[in-house]
C-alpha cells in the first residue's frame, strides 16, 4: 500500500458523478469543463481558444466557439482573476453621486474606461470617510486593476493602504496633501479671480462666500483663491463674509441664512459648488430676494440646467468631460507602469443674468433703508 502515491485517493470528478438530477439542471453553472467536453477537446485547449491564444487549430477553435455559444458559457471572472492577476476592471469612487458634477464625471469615466475595455465599479462615498474607506477596501479586495478617486479626508485609512500596496491610483477633482499620486484637478484660481473681478466691476464691495470644507483640497483651494482675489481688488475682507459649508445643499441654505443676518450683509454671493448653490437659491427665493437684482449670485461648477434658471446663473465653468477622459488615460498609464504628470485644467467665468445687474442701492442692509 505504501508505494501507491497519495493522489490515488483524490476523488475523481468525472461527469457521471455530477449531481445531475432531473430538475434544477440549470442551477448548476456551466464551466469551461463543460465547454471542453462538448467541443471534444481538453480544458487547456478550450481556455486557449476562449482567451484568444494563437496556438490553436482552426478546427479546435470552431468547435470550442460553437460549444461555448450553445451552452451560453460565461467565464467565471473570479477564477480568471485569481489565476491571472488582472481583472480588466477599474474602480471609481466619487464623493457624492447626487452632485451632478460627479454624476457627469461618473458617466465620462465609465464611457472612457469602456472604450479601453475596462468596466467601472462605481462607489459613492457620500462625503463620508467611513464610506470611502469601506468602498476602497472592497475595491482592493476585488483586485480592481486601478482606482480613480475624488478623495476626502487626509492620507490615513484606506488611502494609505492603497499607496502602500502600490495599487494604481489617480486622484480626480481633489487631492490629498502629502500623498504623491497623479491627479487631474481644476485651477480654481483663474475662474474665481474673474468672478470677483466681475463683481467688483459691478460695484460690489462685500461678497459673501459660501465655502467648501477646509478638509477637502478643493474647499481649501477655492477659499484661498477667493481670499487672494478679494484682497487684490480691494474688497471687504471681513471674515464674517465667509460661511463654511460642507459642499452639500443644506449647508448652502444655512450659509445664505447666516450671511443675510449680518449687520452688513453682502450684496453678492459666491458658492463654492453647485449643490450649495442650489441650497442658496432655494433660500433666496423663500426670502423673496430677486437673484440678479437684489443680490448677485455666482456658482462654481457649470451644471446644464443652471442656464435654465431665470435669471440664468453665472458660473465658473470647468470641463467634466475632459477631467474624466484624462483621469482614465492617466490611470491606464499608471497601470501600464508609467508615472504620468498631474494635469491642472483651466476654469473660466461664464457671465449670465444672475450677476449682470450693477449693485443695487443698499437693498439688503437694514440700517441704510
Amino acid at each position: 500500500m505504501e508505494t501507491i502515491p497519495r493522489r490515488q485517493c483524490k476523488r475523481t470528478h468525472e461527469y457521471d458523478t455530477y449531481p445531475y438530477e432531473h430538475e434544477e439542471v440549470s442551477m448548476v453553472a456551466i464551466t469551461i469543463k463543460d465547454v471542453a467536453a462538448l467541443a471534444g477537446v481538453s480544458v487547456a485547449t478550450a481556455s486557449r481558444v476562449l482567451s484568444g491564444s494563437p496556438a490553436t487549430s482552426p478546427e479546435a477553435r470552431a468547435n470550442v466557439v460553437a460549444a461555448a455559444a450553445q451552452l451560453d458559457y460565461r467565464p467565471n471572472a473570479q477564477a480568471r482573476a485569481l489565476r491571472s492577476t488582472h481583472t480588466e476592471s477599474i474602480g471609481l469612487l466619487v464623493s457624492d453621486v447626487r452632485n451632478p458634477f460627479f454624476a457627469d464625471l461618473a458617466h465620462t469615466v465609465e464611457q472612457a474606461a469602456l472604450a479601453a475595455g475596462y468596466v467601472t465599479l462605481l462607489g459613492n462615498a457620500n462625503e463620508r470617510k467611513e464610506q470611502q474607506d469601506r468602498y476602497l477596501d472592497t475595491l482592493i479586495s476585488r483586485r480592481v486593476d486601478g482606482i480613480v478617486v475624488s478623495p476626502l479626508g487626509d492620507g490615513s485609512g484606506s488611502i494609505r493602504s492603497l499607496i502602500q500596496r502600490k495599487i494604481p491610483t489617480v486622484f480626480v477633482d481633489r487631492t490629498v496633501d502629502g500623498v504623491d499620486v497623479p491627479s487631474v484637478t481644476t485651477d480654481s484660481e483663474t475662474g474665481i479671480r474673474q468672478a470677483v473681478e466681475h463683481l467688483a466691476a459691478a460695484g460690489h464691495t462685500r461678497i459673501g462666500y459660501i465655502s467648501g470644507p477646509q478638509s477637502i483640497s478643493t474647499g481649501r483651494d477655492r477659499f484661498a483663491a477667493f481670499t487672494r482675489a478679494v484682497a487684490e481688488f480691494g474688497l471687504s475682507q471681513d471674515p464674517e463674509l465667509v460661511y463654511f459649508g460642507d459642499f452639500q445643499a443644506a449647508s448652502g441654505s444655512a450659509g445664505v441664512h447666516a450671511l443675510l443676518e449680518l449687520r452688513q450683509p453682502p450684496t453678492a454671493l459666491l458658492a463654492a459648488d453647485s449643490p450649495m448653490a442650489v441650497g442658496a437659491i432655494a433660500i433666496l427665493h423663500r426670502r423673496g430676494l430677486r437673484i440678479g437684482r437684489d443680490v448677485a449670485l455666482i456658482a462654481f461648477d457649470d451644471i446644464e440646467w443652471f442656464a435654465l434658471l431665470d435669471p440664468a446663473l453665472s458660473v465658473i465653468s470647468h470641463s467634466v468631460e475632459e477631467m474624466g477622459r484624462i483621469a482614465v488615460k492617466m490611470l491606464l498609464e499608471v497601470i501600464g507602469g508609467g508615472t504620468p504628470e498631474s494635469v491642472v485644467l483651466p476654469s473660466e467665468l461664464i457671465i449670465r443674468g444672475s450677476s449682470s445687474a450693477p449693485v443695487s442701492p443698499t437693498p439688503l442692509s437694514p440700517e441704510f433703508v
Copy 2:
C-alpha cells in the same frame, strides 16, 4: 528515476523561496498563509477566525487578528467567492446616471444595500441595449449575488441569460413584457390623470405630450395613461400632439420644436421624464415663451431643483427613496429564496407656477393672432 512520483517535481513554496528582494517587498500581496504563519496557526484556523467561525480558541483568535492587523491583510474576494458561492455584492444597472432620478436611485439603493452588508456595483446602460448587455454580462461573470436593473429593450440578450441562470433579479422603475421578475414601479396613471384634469380645468384643450420611447415600459404606460386621460376629459386626441422622444434631454428640445410648429400648437405641455423637461424648458426660453403664461408645462419626475425655477415647475412626483429601498428589500428576499410580490408605488401631481395660469387667449396659434 521512473519510480519517483510526479509530484516530486512540484515546486516547493516555502517562504525562503519567495522572491523577496531587498526592494519592492510590498508588491507581493499578502495572503492568508502569511497571516497564519505569523500567528503560528494553520491556514484552516486562520480562515475560521477571519470568517468568524465559533470553533476557535480565544488564543488563536487573538493571534490571528493581531497578525492580520499587523500585515494589513485584505482577503482576496475572488478566491473567497470562488469557493463559497456568494459575494456579498449586488449589481445595480441604471439606464442613465446623468438623469437625476437615477442618480438618486443609485444613491438610495447603495445606502440600503450597504446597510444590509452588501456593496453595490453600479453600471450605466446609457439608454443603450449593447451597453446594458455588456454590463449584465460583467455582473454575471463577477457572480454578484443579485441584480437590480431598470431594463430597456425586450427580454432578449442578457436579460434572458439572467432569467435562465436564475440569478436573483429585481426590476426597478421599468419592467419587461413577458419576463416574470418581481418589480417596483410607479403607477403613472393617477399622476398623469391628475395632471390632465388640472390642465383641462384651466381651460387647456390641446395638450402636447412629449413621450418616452414605446420600447420602454414606462414610456408605454405613461403614454397610455395620457391617452386615456385626454379621452376621459374630452380634450383633443389629435395624434400630432404627441411627440415620441427617447427620455433624454435633446429629444425634449426636439419635441418642443416639433409641437410648436404645428398649425394648431398645444397650449400646455406634458413631458414624460425630467431630462426631456429640461430640454423642453431650454427651447421654450430660447423661443421667448414664458412658461406658466404663454404655455403651461408639467414634468413627470420630481427633481429637487425643479422647484427653484421661476415659475416653479409643476411635477408628477413619485418617491425615489422608497423605490430604492423596496427594490433592495425585495432583492434580498429573492436572494434568500423567496418570491416577493411586485410593488406599485403611487404618483401624485404637485401643482406649482408652471401650470397655474389659466389658458392664455390663443397665444401660440399664428392663424388667430
